[in-house]
Amino acid sequence: MVPVSYYLALSGVLFGLGMIAFVFKRNIISIFMAIELMLNAVNLAFVAFSRALGQLQGQVFVFFVIVVAAAEAAVGLAIILVVARNRQTLNVERVDSLKH
């Protein structure tokens, strides 16, 4: 029997790794993938709590998180396409026309 805290620790580790990737990567698509990794870490925490409490609400929320992440991925990748088309680069450090 695996204690729930093991799953939660793994969720925290994955979230931290996603955050590190979000901050240190320069390619805009890699940054977006780090966001998806963080969402997955939260999903794991939800399902672990669902098992710990014996309730199904956690899994209902995971369902909604997955659906919203899919919609966000579609729109976000469309935005990335437009930005790449206009700036000819995928490097976030070069997309700085709003910078002072």
């Binding site: 793994l10 931290g16 790794l17 955050m19 997955n40 794991l44 669902s50 014996g54 609400q57 899994q59």
Partner: protein, 166 residues
């Protein structure tokens, strides 16, 4: 060591290895493939937790639709390897250790909170009950998400369309 614990450690190790590989790889396509590995490992973890429907949805939707979308966009945009620029000194000596500290702190805090729960009941989850929840108690958010997907599809089509210059 029970079989469950053994399987948990295998899936957890694969997930963490995939996440670390996502950070360390320079070409975004390798990061995408590492993320697919993480998602499949998480699907296995959901099966261990007894959430069969969520495990299937994770593999089909996340691994089979969202990540395929990522791979197609990477191919479409002809993404290259990231250039080799060294971290600034601040990032290397302060940023990375602090990020590691944050990671350990979050994991430790979550694990300590989790240990306060009574030992989990092993009653199996039923997909029928989950469907009852989705379509009775949570039917309003459910219909809203279908509307949200429609808007997302329309938005993506409008955004990515090339202008026909007259």
């Amino acid at each position: 060591m029970t079989l469950q614990l053994f399987l948990f450690f295998i899936f957890a190790a694969v997930a963490v290895a995939g996440a670390v590989s996502l950070i360390l790889q320079r070409h975004p396509i390798h990061s995408a493939l590492s993320l697919i590995v993480v998602m499949v490992a998480l699907g296995g973890l959901y099966l261990l937790l007894g959430a069969e429907f969520i495990a299937a949805v994770q593999i089909i939707v996340y691994g089979g639709a969202i990540m395929v979308l990522f791979v197609f966009v990477i191919m479409l945009l002809n993404a290259r390897e990231e250039e080799r620029t060294d971290f600034s000194r601040m990032a290397r000596w302060a940023g990375l250790p602090l990020a590691g500290v944050f990671l350990v702190e979050v994991a430790y805090g979550l694990a300590r909170a989790g240990s306060r729960f009574p030992p989990a009941a092993n009653a199996p989850f039923s997909t029928r009950e989950l469907a009852g929840l989705l379509f009775r108690d949570y039917v309003f958010p459910f219909e809203l998400t279908s509307f949200l997907i429609l808007i997302a599809v329309l938005g993506a089509m409008v955004l990515a369309r090339r202008d026909e210059s007259e």
